[in-house]
Subunit: 267 residues, 2 copies
């Protein structure tokens, strides 16, 4: 049965609003996902929200099915006004539906490196749009997922989820410090490749090996020198212009497609 | 001589604030660029602001030189409080300096296609971050510049300028409708290549020819069918996942690096 909320000061509204904030999100262990398309991506990946919040009077086959799934899983469905939805999402033109999910385990232990030939690894990635774009690239190149090293943007933020175009729900995700990541990597197969300017070979035609872990550094600082030194291979892309770097998500994607071609050619 | 502004309601402060808005920017024909690094990129590309606004008491060699250049060019230098700078830029942690530039001519006539082997072309690109990232990619691959087709985000917005990392000042930029662009392109040499899913060949090893114009479509709709049909070559990238598309700036960059490699190999 739907619960109806019409008051701006309702505690559920306040709670949902608070999920826009990283600190509250972390404490609650939940994230808010906006829009039917993303919710549908989640559903088709087997993730059903604990709570569904929709604008009164909206009808859509997908929405009806989603509502049924949420009910069947013991979740809650809330109908409210478009204004309250706008308040919850902080957007003037709010999507007509949002869902609340429990955050999931993002420890390295959840990743199985044997399942994919490519993995993206981002160190101190600060921009949630870049983070989401890298998740999306993982999906496109058939990478196993994205590993976030050190202090990165929050993968469960609305901006990251949106930029991922649903890939947050379909590819692997882990968060770790460098000194956890490196022992984990070295405990099994895996080539660590840095996008680098120091002591690097051309990225094109380099000797990539699956599973290949492509490491991209922070947007403004790049990778710390000792991180680069710990890599099995340092590759560089041509820089024909005045600047010496690419957008982090772009660098990761150009490398990922190169690695994909190299690995496919060897099969 | 510096002019000092201490009042929030000063008309210059109001004017500078208004430049955050596209409509006002267009009417004024000016843009606001924040931060010493971007202003220094502009200066080294021969663009000196008409007006420099800086926080009182900030000292920096580059800032001193920039101030002298602005004075020498007959421009205005304004010293103000950090709070007023924050108000102007709309950011809590405002950069300590901002500059006002006249927008420049972005008609196709300003581009010389013979000067570069690669050009990026974006159609209905809506995200200013993607736009700036594509300008940055142009710089990296040695592309002549970015051509914006139909209704795109504003390349002179703060977000686009910031994402370009200064490339706005160093690479070419044009804005045109499709029905201006196509005759312009066909009036000279130039291969038009679409990132496409329809009737396309693999992007890897395709027959790219300089000057190569890489056309990328809108973030959610992709390219209109008739635009694709007008291209000389349609190429597709592997999509191993659930989704059928990449972020627009990523797609443009992966293709641009492929074209660069193909053209370099033929030299």
């Amino acid at each position: 049965m739907r619960k109806h909320i019409t008051g701006f000061s309702n505690p559920t509204v306040k709670y949902l609003r608070s999920l826009r904030d990283k600190k509250h999100r972390r404490r609650a262990g939940q994230l808010l996902v906006e829009g039917l398309r993303l919710l549908e991506d989640a559903r088709s990946s087997g993730r059903v929200p604990q709570m569904l919040v929709m604008a009164e009077g909206r009808e859509h086959d997908l929405l009806t099915r989603l509502e049924a799934d949420v009910m069947a899983a013991g979740g809650e469905v809330i109908a409210t006004t478009p204004d309250i939805l706008s308040k919850i999402t902080g957007k003037d033109n709010a999507q007509s539906v949002a869902g609340v999910f429990d955050e999931w385990d993002t420890s390295l232990a959840v990743l199985d490196r044997e399942t994919a030939p490519i993995w993206l690894v981002a160190q101190a990635l600060r921009d949630p749009g870049n983070l989401g774009t890298m998740l999306r690239t993982c999906d496109a190149v058939g990478a196993g997922g994205l590993i976030l090293i050190d202090d990165c943007a929050d993968p469960f933020s609305a901006e990251a989820v949106r930029a991922s175009m649903g890939a947050l729900f379909t590819v692997g995700l882990a968060q770790a410090r460098w000194d956890e990541f490196l022992p984990w990597l070295r405990a099994g197969d895996g080539q660590l490749v840095a996008a680098s300017l120091r002591d690097a070979v051309p990225y094109r035609g380099a000797d990539y090996r699956a599973p290949c872990f492509i490491l991209v550094g922070n947007e403004s600082q790049g990778l710390p020198e000792d991180y680069e030194a710990a890599c099995d291979l340092r590759v560089t892309m041509p820089m024909k212009g005045r600047a010496d770097s690419l957008n982090a998500a772009v660098a990761g994607a150009v490398l990922a497609y190169e690695v994909l071609a190299a690995i496919d050619a060897r099969r």
